[in-house]
Amino acid sequence: MGVDLIFKIAAIGILVAILHTLLDQSGRKEIALMTSIIGLVVVLAVVAREIFKLFESIKTMFQF
């Protein structure tokens, strides 16, 4: 279940990098920055949920 998440996040990262370069090349610097920040926030939301799941499973495993 988690393995596709790695590919998903890597794909988002590559996509955001490409978009950033394209927008930067065409002179829209502020939109390029916006796409990077939005991509980062989206990925951060996913990662935060996964970290929460990890902590929950550690809590149940080690009987906190």
């Binding site: 890597a10 955001v16 996964e50």
Partner: protein
Amino acid sequence: MEIFQIVGLGLISTILIVVLKAQKPEMAMQVGIITGIVIFMLLAGKLSAVISLFYDYMSRADIDTSYIATLLKIIGIAYVAEFGAEICKDAGESAIASKIELAGKAIIIVIAVPIFASLLDLIIDLIP
């Protein structure tokens, strides 16, 4: 064999991180976090079987299970602190990493105090 899965997963995610690091280092870090979580999740089922076996033998040998609970808690804290500290260190923030490690050590000492106190009580009882 699970080890081939885990090694393959680690290699693939390392390649992805190396590709991403040049363009977007923050995304590379997130891929690293997810990889760590996925590998732990693959191991969690097997480890919890070992832990439940441990509990079983503890209850059969009539040993107070609060000690083993404290021990497990310490292992969990050590793992979480290590996980966080390694991610911070990878991202170049070794100062925050060492603070996380310090916090882990402090919390482990606080949790271990009851065991230490019971050991000291035993020693004091033995002294005539």
